[in-house]
Structures are given as structure tokens and as C-alpha cells.
């Protein structure tokens, strides 16, 4: 991109940005509500969507200019899982941590209190049903990873289905499923309603895991480089605002509003602050709560984060052949746009493009040799 294109007004100033009504849509809502968009010559119009399928379709058709995306889903679209492949661009991460796995009270009554007792039950009496939010989505990947690490083959030993987040609690109450993995406030909601308990948080599975991402089509970024940069800059400032402790109460109110999640403030506030109650007697302040910025560690579109989702799509057979891991991740993770946006708002972006993580089963992921990593799991498709 030329220096001329990098400066000056956005090519398109009113941007429709899709989001799902979840606690981690915060940066999009805040950018519009607190005027971070106007600082960058934009008007962000948040567009509330009712399914991830609609999020994807609206983005691909150009009805929305950008969208909150599940990281895994972005890579599913890029590689054509369950549809035609389309070039996507992730210009920043929007969140980390703060998802969870809920099990039903009915399972509790059958002696299940944790992962080990669940695995024992599944082996003894097959027939459990679990739900996640999208076939290529993050929640599917957390749930599969967690079950597999406990020795359960998630694609064969349990029935796996997809349920819209706001319907999770009702379906669990109706006995249609025994467990689910979803974003907040829908795990906290099950605890409040006495329908289920939080058996694991997503940050327990992978401390500081990537969550949602800001996605655009590559075609949109190519045609509107200044808009893409301005949007990323506005959301960076919004993400920083979301993380400030003093703003947390206002953030909870913004998210609970009818135009966003439409729930009680109390349903969001505790877990947003990192205060957890698992519903069966354990209360704690989480060391890795939902975060939006953390000095740019959350927002950096790490290559290793993108690669991880590719390894899991391969692991579970959603990718039928070995993908060109690094090539794909380098195309999707638009570090160029991210760095320009950081420069515009005076944030120092880390130079590294890979980061090292240790998952709950002791597995280490640092972005090196993704093909070997994908093949290293005993339980896979």
C-alpha cells in the first residue's frame, strides 16, 4: 500500500459491522456507542445477526462490510469447508477467553462433576448429546479438544449438534442435550437458572486462547484499504476502553441493552469481571478472564492463532487433505493492516508473529510444524 493510500479519508465512511449478541461483541458496540468510530472518520453501524450462517452470508455478499467472526469459522470459509471457498481477511483479534462448557443438572444427578467422571459415564453408558455453535467454530474446537483430552472421541462416542446460543439453556432444560460449549452469558445463564453447571471454562482448556476476530473479505480490504485501517484503529481504541476496570460497569450496561444482548446486567457483569460461580459450590476469581486488549496481545492477529484452527479443522477431518498451513494463515492474518492501524493510534505492536501456549493437557503450541501437530493427537477423525 502506498503512503498516499495510507493517509487520508476512508474510501467508505459508513460501515455495517455484523455481530452476534454475546458478551465478546463488546469492541464493536463500544466503538459505535463511545464515538471511537468518528475519531477515524467512520460511522460504524452495528448489525445484530441471529446466526453465524447469516453472519457469513451477509459478509460474503457485501451486505455487511465487516463482521465479528469465530476464528475457526473464518478459516472454514477460507478453505471452503461446507461451502465455496472465499478469501477472507482478519485484521485483528477481538477477544480472548471467557467461553465455557456447561453440563446439565441431570448429569450431576448421575454422578458427573468433572471431566473424568463425564468420560467414565460416556464409556459406561453411551448416548450423551453435546452442542456447540457452528461446525467450524471455536466452540466446536474447544469442546472436541476437551473431550478428546479426556479420552472421549467427540465425533463417534457422543452425538454432536449445533444449537443457537440463546436456545442452549432451554434445550438443556428440555433434556434434548446433556452439555454444550458456548460464549457468555449463556454458561452463566444455565447456573442462574439452575439448569446446569460450568464444568470447564475455555481458558481452563487454553489459557489466553484466541476468541473472536474482526473479519472482512479480502476484496473489501483491497478496494477500501483506508476504511479497513480506520475500522481496525477504531476497534483497537474500543478494545482498550473495554479492558479499563473503571469502564466495566458501563460496558455491562451497554452489552445488556435491548439492541445488543437484551438481558439483565447482572447476567453479564460477574464473569465480565472474572468472578465465576460454577453452580455446584466453587467460586473463584479467574486469572485468565475475558479480555479485549491487554496491551495489544489480544488484538494482534498472531499467525500461530490462525494456524491452530487450521490444525484442528484438519484433525477433525473437516479439511480432507493437508492444507498449505503457513500460506493460508499468512493470507488471512492481515498483519499489514493491523500494524498500520496500531501506528495510527500509537500502539506498539509486537514484532513476533507466533506465540507459545501450553494447553490444559500439557500440549504445547507455538506455531511450528502444524502438520505434525495436527497428526500428533491420538484421538482424531
Amino acid at each position: 500500500m502506498s503512503a498516499l493510500a495510507a493517509s487520508g479519508a476512508p474510501e467508505k465512511s459508513e460501515l455495517r459491522v455484523g455481530f452476534m449478541p454475546l458478551t465478546d461483541c463488546a469492541p464493536i458496540i463500544v466503538a459505535a456507542a463511545k464515538g471511537f468510530d468518528r475519531r477515524h472518520g467512520l460511522r460504524i453501524v452495528p448489525v445484530r445477526e441471529s446466526s453465524w450462517a447469516a453472519v457469513r452470508d451477509r459478509l460474503l455478499r457485501g451486505e455487511n462490510d465487516a463482521s465479528q467472526l469465530l476464528y475457526g469459522m473464518a478459516y472454514g470459509v477460507q478453505t471452503g469447508v461446507g461451502g465455496a471457498a472465499r478469501e477472507l481477511a482478519i485484521t485483528m483479534g477481538l477477544s480472548r477467553n471467557g467461553q465455557g462448557i456447561t453440563l446439565s443438572r441431570a448429569l450431576l444427578a448421575r454422578g458427573v462433576r468433572d471431566g473424568a467422571s463425564l468420560a467414565a459415564l460416556v464409556h459406561r453408558e453411551p448416548g450423551c448429546t453435546f452442542a456447540h455453535t457452528f461446525p467450524t467454530g471455536n466452540h466446536a474446537m474447544w469442546l472436541y479438544y476437551w473431550l478428546a483430552a479426556l479420552g472421549v472421541q467427540p465425533l463417534r462416542e457422543v452425538r454432536m449438534t449445533t444449537v443457537p446460543p440463546p436456545q442452549m439453556v432451554a434445550q438443556m432444560r428440555a433434556g434434548i442435550m446433556d452439555g454444550y460449549c458456548v460464549g457468555e452469558p449463556w454458561n452463566a445463564h444455565a447456573v442462574r437458572e439452575g439448569v446446569g453447571f460450568t464444568v470447564a471454562t475455555s481458558q481452563h482448556i487454553w489459557p489466553d486462547h484466541p476468541g473472536k476476530a474482526l473479519g472482512m473479505t479480502a476484496a473489501f480490504v483491497d478496494a477500501h484499504p483506508r476504511s479497513a485501517r480506520a475500522l481496525t484503529a477504531a476497534l483497537l481504541e474500543a478494545a482498550r476502553w473495554c479492558d479499563a476496570r473503571g469502564n466495566r460497569a458501563e460496558l455491562a450496561r451497554l452489552l445488556a441493552a435491548p439492541a445488543c444482548i437484551d438481558c439483565e446486567v447482572a447476567a453479564i457483569a460477574d464473569r465480565l469481571d472474572g468472578d465465576y460461580d460454577d453452580g455446584i459450590g466453587r467460586r473463584w476469581h479467574d486469572a485468565h478472564p475475558l479480555r479485549f486488549f491487554d496491551d495489544g496481545a489480544v488484538t494482534q492477529p498472531w499467525l500461530s492463532d490462525g494456524l491452530w484452527f487450521l490444525t484442528q479443522l484438519r484433525r477433525w477431518g473437516l479439511l480432507r487433505s493437508e492444507p498449505e498451513y503457513l500460506d493460508i494463515a499468512a493470507r488471512v492474518q492481515r498483519l499489514d493492516v493491523y500494524h498500520d492501524a496500531c501506528a495510527a493510534v500509537g500502539i506498539a505492536a509486537p514484532r513476533a508473529v507466533m506465540r507459545r501456549s501450553v494447553l490444559f493437557d500439557g500440549g504445547v503450541w507455538d506455531g511450528s510444524d502444524p502438520a505434525a501437530y495436527a497428526a500428533s493427537f491420538a484421538i482424531r477423525a
Binding site: 453465524w52 452470508d57 461446507g82 461446525p135 449445533t162
Partner: protein, 205 residues
């Protein structure tokens, strides 16, 4: 063999006509409970060739999961459109429906079924719009009448006089007559103020 269609999450109002149109086109419309509680189980039981679902239905993600994991399950037509051409895709965009179809369904048949469905959708849309317009006009007339009656009762005006004053007052504000009538009805405390203004205008005339 006729195409087996499942209509999921379509607005109840246009469901009967949609069924009739699809049946006329040679489809079998499969019976489904309303509301559908477990869509995945229903799709697996019924094995439809084509699913019509409201574009805003949250249940679409359930269909996406089936499409990825089950060879025989209907796939999002937006994916099939990439092969069939973009004209169909554009029509679907405007329809408010999403379609999921099995691979075996021929593009020509799919296209005609989608068009049959869209024609019904547009017909319903037109009906709804004209109904809404008729209701709005009726409401306008009712509000103007009530404002007129109020002036007649309060100030002993004749009907033609009341109407004339209302119309002039609306014109001075560059408002539509029904909108001004509603302003007046909403805020009766302002009525004397309006009346004084009307009297002034009458004197000037």
C-alpha cells in the same frame, strides 16, 4: 420421484400459499411441527431434498452442522450457487429465505423451485405492503376526524371551518395534515394556543 421439501421457520402467514405453490410444482411438502424443537433430528428423520428456512432463523447453524458432517444432508444453496451462477444467488439475497439442497438436485430444478418460492414470497410481500398502506390511510383519516371533532366541540366550529383551520395550520408548519392532527390530539393543553393562532389567521384572511 418428486422433490421432498421441508419448510422450517417460515412465517405462518405465507406458509399455506408456499406449500400450495410448491406442491403445484410437483414437490411433496413434508409435515413439520410448529415450532420445531429439534431440527437436526427432524432433518435426519425426514431426509428432505430441499429446506427452506427464514434467513433470520437462528436454526440455520444447525443445518450448517448437518451439511458439514453428513454427506446426504442438504447443503447451503449459496454454496451451490457458486456453480449455478450468480443470478440465482442475487434473487435469493432479496428473498428473506435461505435454501439448503442436496447435491443430487439438478441445478435447473433447484432454480425453478427457488423461483416458485420467491414468487410466493414477493406476492406476500406486496399483499402485506398494500395492507399496511390501507391501514395507515385509515388511521390518517380517523385522526383528522378526531381533531376536527375536537375543534367543533370546543370552539363551536362548523365541520368545514374546522377542516379549513386544521389544513392551514398544518401548511404553516410544513406538516402533513394527519401528522398535525396527531400533534394536536397528543397535546390537548396546546389546544387553546392552536385556537388563538387559528383565530389570528382567520382575522388576517
Amino acid at each position: 420421484m418428486s422433490t421432498r421439501v421441508l419448510i422450517a421457520g417460515a412465517a405462518a402467514a405465507y406458509r399455506p400459499r408456499l406449500c400450495a405453490a410448491l406442491e403445484q410444482a410437483g414437490c411433496v411438502v413434508l409435515p413439520a411441527p410448529e415450532p420445531i424443537v429439534d431440527l437436526e433430528a427432524l432433518v435426519q428423520d425426514l431426509a428432505p431434498d430441499l429446506i427452506l428456512i427464514h434467513a433470520e432463523s437462528p436454526d440455520r447453524d444447525t443445518l450448517e452442522n448437518l451439511a458439514v458432517f453428513h454427506e446426504r444432508a442438504p447443503k447451503p444453496v449459496i454454496a451451490l450457487c457458486a456453480r449455478a451462477g450468480s443470478a440465482l444467488s442475487e434473487q435469493i439475497d432479496r428473498a428473506g429465505f435461505s435454501f439448503y439442497a442436496v447435491d443430487e438436485l439438478s441445478p435447473a430444478l433447484l432454480q425453478s423451485l427457488v423461483q416458485v418460492s420467491l414468487a410466493q414470497f414477493q406476492r406476500e410481500q406486496t399483499l402485506r405492503e398494500s395492507l399496511a398502506q390501507a391501514q395507515a390511510e385509515l388511521g390518517d383519516r380517523r385522526d383528522v376526524d378526531r381533531a376536527k371533532c375536537l375543534l367543533m366541540e370546543r370552539y363551536g366550529m362548523k365541520e368545514s371551518e374546522a377542516y379549513h383551520h386544521l389544513r392551514r395550520a398544518a401548511m404553516r408548519r410544513a406538516q402533513k395534515l394527519p401528522d398535525f392532527a396527531r400533534t394536536m390530539l397528543r397535546d390537548e393543553s396546546q389546544l387553546d394556543h392552536f385556537a388563538a393562532e387559528m383565530a389570528r389567521a382567520a382575522r388576517q384572511a
